[in-house]
């Protein structure tokens, strides 16, 4: 019965300092007003864990003091980027949603180009909530591999944005681990990555088509500066918003598109009840939303 003894021998632990429900609600409201992200009741433990680190780093006595600082302290501006980093979730990998990329290659891009007319020189794509950049780099690779041969005069600009600045830093470096490339076809891996010390470096010819910037999707002023995108990918981020914020963000995305441009959202996500401005187009295993 040696298996049992160690299990039986553990004592109960002292309880860690917790965030009160009132404070949690205040944080929730604060985060919501700032970013549109809504923390459900059952995610309190997550916020506690992630903010404890910041509270410690700033030598503050409790969570309430941290909230106070975020609201009005002198150190507020410098702290914001760490705060955003702490509250966001970053799971992504290359070639994550193949049906979308297939539809992107054909017929979306040809359709966009035909709307723009002959002589169209540049395609602009926005990877909103780009996290560590896998999606944005995937798009650039697809362009090099499948689109550029067909449209030699066409340039591509991909803009990747995220509220979380640490992942923006990672995206700008373009260096990835096993976990990120686990779904990548070998041909792409060989052709567009350089392997070094079991890390995968995205090649410069890909990276030159992509740039990354911090951006809060809920920041109206900054969102209004995003314009003239032909295709927008906004995958797996709307789920963090409540109904009202989704409506605002999606309305901004519509405005950011060119006529005839397309929006992709995540698999099993929906714009039902969020917007009727788009025309829905079906593809094998995926859906895109077109601005007429």
């Amino acid at each position: 019965m040696s298996v049992i003894a160690p299990i039986l021998a553990k004592p109960a632990l002292a309880a860690a300092p917790k965030m009160s429900d009132t404070t949690y609600r205040q944080f929730r409201q604060f985060i919501y007003e700032l970013t549109g992200i809504y923390f459900q009741d059952n995610k309190k433990y997550l916020l506690e864990g992630r903010l404890a680190k910041r509270t410690q780093a700033l030598n503050l006595a409790d969570f309430e003091s941290y909230l106070q600082l975020l609201r009005s302290g002198i150190r507020r501006n410098g702290e914001m980027r760490f705060f955003f980093d702490a509250i966001t979730i970053n799971e992504t990998f290359f070639f994550r949603n193949e049906p979308q990329f297939e539809a992107f290659e054909n017929p979306l891009v040809p359709s966009v180009l035909s709307t723009k007319g002959t002589g169209a020189k540049r395609l602009r794509v926005w990877s909103a909530a780009s996290s560590s950049g896998e999606e944005a780099h995937t798009i650039a690779m697809l362009y090099l591999e499948r689109l550029k041969p067909r449209y030699p005069g066409l340039d591509l600009e991909v803009v990747g944005t995220d509220i979380n600045t640490s992942v923006i830093d990672i995206a700008r470096k373009g260096v990835y681990r096993d976990y990120s490339i686990r779904n990548t076809p070998k041909m792409y891996l060989d052709k567009y990555f350089r392997t070094e010390d079991s890390r995968f470096h995205v090649k410069d010819e890909v990276r030159k088509h992509v740039r990354f910037e911090p951006l809060n999707l809920f920041d109206q002023t900054r969102m209004r500066q995003m314009n003239n995108f032909d295709i927008i990918f906004c995958c797996n981020v709307l789920i963090y918003f409540d109904q009202k914020s989704k409506i605002q963000v999606v309305s901004n995305l519509y405005d950011a598109l060119t006529r005839g441009g397309y929006l992709f959202i995540g698999y099993a996500e929906s714009l039902h009840g969020i917007s009727t401005a788009f025309t829905l187009i079906n593809f094998p295993k995926t859906v895109a939303y077109q601005k007429e």
């Binding site: 929906s270 829905l280 593809f283 995926t286």
Partner: protein, 124 residues
Amino acid sequence: MSSVVLVVDDSATVRKFVSVSLSMRGFEVIAASDGMDALEKLPQRRVDLLVTDLNMPNMDGFELIRALRDNAEYRDLPVIILTSQNDQASRDTGAKLGVRSYLVKPFSLEMIQYEVSKYVSWPD
């Protein structure tokens, strides 16, 4: 494997009763509340037949059918219209969109089962 029918109607009662009527015959029924909901659900399941209302919010029945006809993937999906609209103009629009079954509510169990059976076979 049983055939899958997608029922599209903004009335929850209609969705439920059509579903009961068809599943009694061994069909698998999935439901959507309007055209937009239906188009968003289509990529997630193979569907053999569509039964749709006409008057619905977000995207009406004709707009839904037009979107399907414009799409190579769903062009040949059989469609049954099930509606309380009984005017000639609506019937004509349906016919022009290639819809061969136009059922007028209120519907009976037998009526819906019979019409569906023209397009998809009974499971054994």
